[in-house]
Amino acid sequence: MSALNIKKGSTSHSAYDLRDSHSEVEESHTLAVIVENEPGVLARVIGLFSGRGYNIDSLTVAEVDHTGHRSRITIVTRGTPAVVDQIEAQLSRMVPVYEVHDLTAEGPCVQRELALIKVSGRGEPRIEALRLAEIFRASVVDSTLDSFVFEMTGTPAKIDAFAELMRPLGLKEIARTGVAAMSRGA
């Protein structure tokens, strides 16, 4: 939980390191935002993105420090370097925001998402689905004679790939949690 002890966002973050902010190329960035867990804070964060026209590709939130009432929001966003810097600065100046980390800029990070995937069918497609699930390390959490619910965790790309393979095999439904992410190393 050491990340929670870093001094608050707007006081310590560097919104303007000297990498090329003029680039027009859009990049995907994963942000970890530590906020006060009180009503309205998530709405405030989401409102920032909609109000200022920023992208949200994925957003997850849960309380991670029950005694300190802090939640961690993981946001995957897209934008030019200048826009991503601006998003970080806008987040960090919010009153109930304690820390903002651009995990993509800070170094390598692990990203995981959990998905539940329902596939229905009989015969050969059903066997094929099971075989592929094994390869993808998806586990069966529910089965009937003509359906499976697979659970898998992985990067969003891996889940995309698995879902794509399931499509011709009877993909019925998919539920995804969105990305949780963390920097690698100590």
């Binding site: 902010s21 309205g40 009153v95």
Partner: protein
């Protein structure tokens, strides 16, 4: 020594403990317990407004003219929604205010109860922070936090929504010292390495300029003093945004006048041609930059700002300095002096010579008239007859606002209150009342356009009731002048709905309110009429009939660079002599 009290009493106690002496408000069902407490005490004065928008603008006027936090109190539902424009105005202009709203009882929230509105939802994007307090035990601490957040860092409006049952219930009062506020502590000291880098650039700069904004005023009196010291010691020219007027005195020798869309020729060309731009508490607003890609193309730029999101938002800067203007200027001056107070004197004198050439253009020249009152003339006379007095100016929004910024001079901060970021017509009258309440003995003038003024004219009742002798100086051109100007210049002279029909007789209107009305139509009578306004001990509505088709110049049409400024025909005549860098 615990103190139990009702939520309603807590509100009043917390306001007292925060040093509040006046609240602008309007009662209703959901705030009756608080009004009952206000009734039973004498420390806090309540100014009953006529519309909740007025209450918020009054709180803004109070805050801007004192540097303290302004407070407004309104009821749930329509009271809260009426406050939205004022909140947005305060957010855009970084004005510290606390708005308290009543709410339906907690058990009714979500049932579409009578006068229920999702106030925190509606006001979330137009407050720096807001809170719905569902537990009386948290109420006093939340109010203390609200005051802290409103003032700390980049100031702004905050809102506390208080359900009626929370006002009735009892709990223990938390004193301000006990309230947890340390979780919001924006950094005020700037990075010393970056400040030093800026000093290095200042030492060699050939064409420097100080581009100052409302942040200097928000940073407090000390910041304005430091700015003056910096400008005088370095001999760098100073320009300011609409928001920053008065931080550096208009009578100061380094003053170039306001910059921006209707800024002065010399100020805008100096911005365009400088080689070192030092942005002090301004935010590269689009009314300042014009076309971003052509903005001051040859300069190194430094930006001092307390808000990290202001830095590199619009214009990429070379030296970003995150911190409070006052703190950073103090360090800047210290370092500059310690390194030997160096500037490039030779280049500076050439730069001033160039600026002198631009000044000769006399960009504020206009065709005088002895038949009709030119609005510029009216303001020049107002200036001549009031400068040097203990004077505060508010404005509405439109041409008159820009002319006021051009023709009135401000030698002190906190003397000029205008809606800059949001451009809210209807701001000036209530703001002038807020200012007058804070400074009962001062001369407070609202320079108004007739159309804007009508938007909140009901507040004349407030001025009368509370003996606020505000002077409403209306430049009546019977036009939505600024709209008309754009239509003339940019929409083929098609004047779609831009004139004021069916205007009231302002003198009779004044009589109806019980105050004094003055009308002036002839330039020869103007001085005497203004004197009459100044001499009257009470509110005045001054209907100054001005030229209807005057345009406000200089003007940089939106999306144009600074050096493609339009000048009035009169100023244009001089232009041929000027050299562009």
């Amino acid at each position: 020594m615990t103190r139990q009290m009702t939520g309603a009493r807590m509100v009043v106690q917390a306001l007292k403990d925060q040093g509040v002496d006046v609240v602008f408000g309007y009662p209703g069902g959901a705030v009756l317990p608080i009004y009952d407490e206000i009734f039973q005490q004498n420390d806090i004065r309540h100014i009953l407004v006529r519309h909740e928008q007025g209450a918020v603008h009054m709180a803004e006027g109070y805050a801007r003219s004192t540097g303290k936090v302004g407070v407004a109190l309104v009821t749930s539902g329509p009271g809260a929604t009426n406050a939205v424009t004022g909140l947005t105005d305060a957010l855009m202009d970084s004005i510290p205010i606390v708005v308290l709203t009543g709410q339906v009882p907690t058990f009714m929230i979500g049932t579409d109860g009578f006068q229920e509105a999702d106030t925190v939802g509606i006001t979330r994007p137009c407050t720096k922070m807001n809170w719905l307090v569902k537990d009386t035990a948290k109420l006093s601490e939340t109010i203390h936090q609200a005051f802290h957040v409103a003032k700390a860092g980049r100031p702004g409006p905050v809102l506390v929504d208080i359900p009626k049952d929370v006002q009735f219930a009892n709990a223990e009062y938390t004193r301000p010292e006990k309230a947890r506020t340390d979780h919001y502590a924006p950094r005020v000291k700037g990075d010393i390495d970056r400040i030093t880098r800026l000093v290095e650039l200042m030492e060699t700069a050939e064409r420097p300029i100080l581009y100052t904004g409302g942040g200097v005023i928000n940073s407090g009196r000390g910041a304005s003093q430091l700015l003056r010291e910096l400008a005088d010691a370095t001999d760098f020219p100073v320009t300011s945004t609409l928001m920053g007027l008065g931080a550096y005195p208009a009578s100061g020798k380094n003053w170039l006048g306001m910059l921006g869309m209707h800024g002065l020729y010399e100020a805008n060309l100096a911005m365009h041609g400088c080689d070192l731009m030092i942005n002090i508490g301004a935010r590269f607003d689009d009314r300042i930059t014009g076309r971003v890609k052509d903005f001051s193309p040859r300069s190194k730029k430094a930006h001092i700002d307390i808000d990290p999101s202001s830095i590199n938002k619009v214009i990429h800067v070379d030296i970003p300095i995150l911190g409070d203007v006052g703190h950073v200027l103090e360090d800047l001056l210290k370092i500059w002096k310690a390194r030997g107070r160096k500037v490039n004197r030779e280049a500076l004198s050439k730069w001033w010579a160039q600026i002198g050439e631009w000044k000769k253009v006399n960009c504020l020249a206009y065709a005088p008239s002895d038949k009709t009152i030119k609005p510029q003339y009216a303001l020049q006379r107002l200036e001549a007859l009031t400068r040097g007095r203990n004077r505060y100016i508010t404005t509405e929004v439109g041409q008159h606002q820009m002319w006021a910024a051009q023709y009135l001079g401000f030698d002190e901060p906190n003397r000029w209150m205008t809606s800059g970021g949001l451009g809210t017509m209807g701001y000036g009258l209530p703001a002038s009342i807020g200012v007058q309440v804070a400074h009962p003995d001062a001369l407070v003038i609202n320079v108004a356009g007739e159309a804007s003024w009508l938007m909140n004219m009901q507040e004349m009742g407030t001025a009368m009731q509370f003996r606020a002798p505000v002077k409403q100086f209306i430049l009546n051109n019977e036009r939505l002048g600024m709209v008309r100007q754009w239509q003339e210049l940019l929409h083929g002279e098609r004047y779609s709905s831009s004139w004021s029909e069916s205007l009231p007789d302002f003198v009779k209107l004044a009589e109806a309110f019980g105050c004094k009305g003055i009308q002036c139509t002839d330039p020869k009578d103007l001085d005497e009429a203004i004197q009459e306004m100044l001499a009257y001990d009470g509110p005045v509505i001054f209907d100054c009939r001005v030229e209807k088709h005057e345009n406000c110049f200089p003007m940089i049409p939106s999306g144009k660079p600074h050096n493609e400024m339009l000048l009035s025909a009169d100023a244009e005549a001089f232009k041929s002599g000027a050299v562009l860098v």
